[in-house]
Point group: C2
Chain length 152, copies 2
DNA sequence: CTTGCTGCAAAAGATTTGCACGTGC
DNA sequence: GCACGTGCAAATCTTTTGCAGCAAG
């Protein structure tokens, strides 16, 4: 599901949950969807202000909190990142985070499913099937940079 | 490595890196080790004050930051937790977090190694071999509670 | 005597909250 | 009319920073 469809989906889910679909919320959903990646509240706020110059940060926070409560977006707390990121892709996947530049790349692999199954079997927790994972590493560009730095 | 040994190890690693081993830092390392689980700065600060009533929060933050820079402890940013947690166990493992009560349980499973290998192969990132993962779910106790709540 | 560490207080900065006003149902 | 949503500003709270004094090598 992409673009306009996804926006409508989010708003219809809000209404299905008894919440209201307001112009501000439409703008927030639009900004979330159009960002494409893993936006922060600040990213969304900046985009939304292009449409709604008067919107308040609190509204953006409220809307995002509501979307998260309904399980429509997923919160990503990334080590050493100032802002909390959000992920619109609810399919289980791996978010690889560069520990140097912070760029986030998605990866879909069968071994995630295997791992979650193992975790379910070996622990007494009921694992969230939407679980996405964070894995940290160095992206290709930063690998090159750190090689230049290396003095050995 | 446990207890006193681990404390000495941390301090010796500090010195090996050209940092100083001070009584305050000893107390911070001791608090980290004796906590046993996944302490936050607040947890450590509270424990350290029992030994060093005059210690400042800044010192605790500084020490923990230094230990992290040297790769001696690992930072865990857990969604919806106010404080940042730290993990003294550097072996790759999975931290299962209860989304309701916040309790964290460690799990060691071979499939983590498989997953990290896959991620290394399928992405161009250089994955941190110490990578520990966060997985979210409901712990046994909270599973029971949420069943009582269920109205269905 | 130079560098790093500590303690204190203030600052910074992200997120939350209280409240009054508006709006949809 | 009522419940919900919005905007604004202030509050909250964690973490960082500047700086002066101190200690270690």
């Amino acid at each position: 599901m992409y673009g306009r469809q996804k926006i409508k989906f989010l708003l219809s889910q809000l209404e299905a949950a008894g919440r209201r679909s307001t112009p501000q919320r439409h703008a927030v959903c639009q900004a979330l969807v159009e960002h494409g990646g893993h936006p922060t509240v600040a990213d969304v706020f900046e985009r939304v202000r292009a449409i709604f110059p008067m919107i308040s940060q609190a509204t953006v926070y409220n809307t995002i909190d509501t979307l998260q409560e309904l399980g429509l977006i997923q919160q990503l707390d990334i080590a050493n990142h100032e802002h909390t990121h959000y992920d619109l892709d609810l399919r289980p996947h791996i978010n690889i985070v560069c520990t140097r530049c912070g760029i986030i790349t998605d990866l879909y692999t069968e071994s995630l499913h295997i791992l979650l199954t193992q975790v379910s079997q070996h622990s007494s927790y009921r694992i969230d099937p939407h679980s996405s994972l964070l894995v940290y590493g160095l992206c290709p560009a930063c690998q090159r940079v750190t090689e230049w730095d290396r003095v050995d």
